[in-house]
Symmetry: C2
C-alpha cells in the first residue's frame, strides 16, 4: 500500500491508484526472488478502450517520471511526454486507450521504498526487495488485466521504459502486437553501469542515507544533488551545451567569490536542475530503479541475447536511437534491431540525429513525434 | 618551500628540488593576481644539455603525474611516460636534454597547497592562491632558466600539459622552436567543465575537506574516491571497457551480499583504481589543478582565440587528438591545429584511432610513440 503521507505527491487529479491481483494468493513474486504482499500502481489513462479491448497502449517510463505523461480533461497540467500523447498526436488518444503507470519501485503513488511495509508498519526504505525491469513489466501486465485488456495493441517505452517494453514482450509472448523501444539497451554497457553505479555510491555515501532508513526531514539531499548532476551530464550531449552555454560566466551578483564555487553558467544549470529534482524524488527509488537498469539483460531470458529476443511474438517493432546518446548509444539500438530481425521480428529502425543525447525523446519533439506517429498509424 | 613532512613522497632518488628566482624581489606573481613569496619545483632530467644549450625539451604533465616521467640511471622505477622518454625513444634522451617538473600546485615536491605558507607557518591548504595553466607554464620557464636554458628546442605536453605547452609558447614568443600538444584544448567545453566541476563539488562536500584545512589523518578520502571514479569514467572510452569487462560479475568471494554494493567487474575496477589514487594525491591539489583547466582559454591572451594563438612564434607544431576522447574531443584538437595554421604556424595534425579515450597517450604506446618520434626526429 502506498504511504498516504508520502512527500512526493506528484500524482495529479487524473491519477488513479489500483491494487493489483495476482494468480494464487501469494502476492507479487519478484524476478530476483523477493515478494510483495500487495502492489498498488498509480496510473493515468487517456482515450477510450474499444468494445473489443483491442486498442490499448501501455507507455513505460524512464527512471523518474510519474504516471502523468500527458494532460487530460481531468488535469490540464502538461505531462512529461505531453508532445507525444494526446488527440491527433503520435500516440493518438482519439484512437487508442493509453495507459501510463508510475513504475513499481517509484515514488509517485506506486508501491516502492516509501510505501509502508505491512510486516513492520514502517516504510520499506532500504528493505524493499530488489526491483527489476521484469517486475516493472509484469506489474504493467497485471495492471492492464485489471483494466480489462488481455492483449495490447502496443507497448511504448523510452530508456528504462524501452527495456520494460521488451521485457513485457519476452515475458508475455503474443500479448503485444506492436513494440516501440526508444533509447534502451538489450543489456547495459560497462560505461553505463559505471555512470549509474557512481551515482548510487554518491547517494549511499551521504551520511543521511543511513542505509536507506531516513525520514522526510533528513534525506540524503547532498548525495541526490550530486548524483542528479552526474545523471544530467550522462543524459545530454556535448554539442547541445556548447551552443547553449559555451563558456558563459555567471553574472557578478550570482558569484559568491568563494574559491571553487559556481562560476560558469553550465555549473549553475546543473545546480538549478539538481535542486529542482532532489525534493521531488525518493533517494531509495533512485537507487532501486537505477540498479534495475544495470541488471537488465535479455540474455537472462534463455541464455543468450538471441534466445531472449526470440521469445518475442509481435507483429512489428519500432526501434529508435539517437546519434549523440552516450548512455544508451545508438549502436545499442542497432543491436536491438539486429537481434529482433535475426530472430524473426519485422523492425523499423530509425536513428535520429539530434543534439539532445539520451534525453532527446523528451525534448526533440520535431524529430520523434513523426517517427512514432508513422509507426502507430501504419499499425491500424 | 615544500613541506618536508608531506604525505605524498612520490619523489624518487632522481628527483631534484630547486627554488626559482624571479625578476625583481617580489616572488612569483600569479596570472590571476595572487603571489607566492617562494616557489620550489621538483623536477627530473634525462640526457645532457649540449654546450650551446639548444637541445632542451620540457615535458608538461597532466593533472596528477609527478616529475618522474621516466626511469634513469639514478632511479630505475618506471615513470608515468616510460614508453615515450628514454634512449632511442620518441623523446630521445640520447639527443635531448629532457626536463619534467611536478606542476606548480601539485603535491609531489613542488610548491602547492600542502606546502608551508611562510606567512602563517602552516600549510596553505585552501588558502593557496589560484593556480592557472599560465602559472604552470611560467614556473616551467623559470625552471629552464635555472637549468641554463634560454630557448627550448621543444615543449611537449598532454592533457593539461598540452595546454601548458601552448601557454608557454603564448607567454614567451620565440622561446620554443617545436611545440607538441596532445589531447589538450584551446578552451574547455561546457561538458568538460561540468565533469570536472562535479568532481570538485564531490570532494568539497566531503565533510573532511573542511574548506581545505584538513590534516593528514582526516583527509576527504571518500570524496576523493568518488571524484577519481568520475575522472576515470571521463578519461576512458566505452569500447575499451566493453571488450575488457563487458558485463562480467565479481566472483562470489568478492561480493558482500549487501544491496547496491559492487557486483560488476567494472565497479571493482573503479574501486581498485580509486583506492590506489586517493592516498597518493592531495585533495586540494586536485581542486586547484582541476579548476585551472576550466579557466584556461587562449582567448584571454588578446581577446580572441585567433589573437591568442597568433602570439605563437614556433617553427612547427604537432597536434595530436584521439577519436574516442570525450573529455578533450578530437574536434578540439582540430580546432587547435586550425587556429595555429590560421595564424601562420606550420602544423602536423594527427588523429589517432584508439579505444583508450583521453588516456590513450598513457596507454597506446604503439600509436603515440611513432607520431611523436617522427616529429622530433624531423626537428633535428
Amino acid at each position: 500500500m502506498a504511504d498516504e503521507k508520502n512527500a512526493y505527491s506528484f500524482t495529479t487529479s487524473a491519477t488513479q491508484q489500483i491494487t493489483l491481483r495476482f494468480p494464487g494468493n501469494e502476492g507479487f513474486k519478484m524476478w530476483r526472488g523477493g515478494r510483495l504482499a500487495e502492489v498498488t500502481l498509480a496510473y493515468e489513462s487517456w482515450g477510450e478502450l474499444s468494445a473489443s479491448a483491442d486498442n490499448a497502449i501501455i507507455v513505460f517510463t524512464g527512471l523518474s517520471p510519474s504516471a502523468h505523461a500527458a494532460s487530460s480533461s481531468q488535469d490540464d497540467s502538461p505531462g512529461w511526454w505531453e508532445h507525444m500523447i494526446g488527440p491527433g498526436k503520435a500516440i493518438d488518444t482519439d484512437r487508442f486507450f493509453v495507459v501510463c503507470a508510475n513504475s513499481l519501485g517509484g515514488c509517485y503513488g506506486s508501491t516502492g521504498p516509501i510505501s509502508i511495509n505491512p510486516d513492520t508498519g514502517r516504510r520499506y526504505g532500504g528493505d524493499f526487495p530488489d526491483v527489476t525491469v521484469e517486475d516493472i513489466a509484469s506489474s504493467g501486465y497485471y495492471l492492464m488485466r485489471e483494466l480489462g485488456v488481455h492483449k495490447l495493441h502496443a507497448a511504448v517505452g523510452s530508456s528504462m521504459g524501452g527495456m520494460s517494453s521488451i521485457a513485457y514482450a519476452m515475458q508475455y509472448p503474443g500479448e503485444i502486437d506492436y513494440l516501440v523501444s526508444i533509447s534502451a539497451a538489450a543489456a547495459a554497457l560497462p560505461l553505463t553501469i559505471a555512470l549509474r553505479s557512481l551515482q548510487r555510491e554518491i547517494i549511499r555515501n551521504d551520511p543521511a542515507w543511513n542505509n536507506g532508513q531516513y525520514d522526510d526531514d533528513h534525506k540524503p539531499l547532498t548525495g541526490m544533488s550530486l548524483a542528479r548532476k552526474l545523471g544530467l551530464v550522462s543524459y545530454r550531449a556535448a554539442d547541445e551545451w556548447n551552443s547553449k552555454f559555451d563558456r558563459a560566466r555567471l553574472p557578478a551578483d550570482k558569484l559568491t567569490g568563494k574559491r571553487f564555487e559556481r562560476e560558469f553558467e553550465i555549473e549553475n544549470y546543473l545546480e538549478y536542475n539538481a535542486q529542482k529534482f532532489i525534493n521531488s524524488f525518493d533517494p531509495n527509488s533512485y537507487l532501486y530503479l537505477s540498479r534495475a537498469m544495470d541488471w537488465f539483460d535479455i540474455a537472462e531470458h534463455g541464455g543468450s541475447l538471441e534466445a531472449g529476443m526470440s521469445k518475442l511474438d509481435v507483429r512489428k517493432a519500432l526501434v529508435v536511437g539517437v546519434t549523440t546518446d552516450i548512455l544508451f548509444p545508438s549502436r545499442q539500438q542497432r543491436e536491438i534491431a539486429d537481434l529482433m530481425r535475426g530472430t524473426g521480428t519485422e523492425v523499423d529502425y530509425v536513428e535520429i540525429d539530434s543534439t539532445n543525447g539520451h534525453d532527446a525523446f523528451l525534448i526533440d519533439d520535431a524529430q520523434f513525434s513523426p517517427v512514432v506517429k508513422k509507426f502507430l498509424d501504419e499499425s491500424l
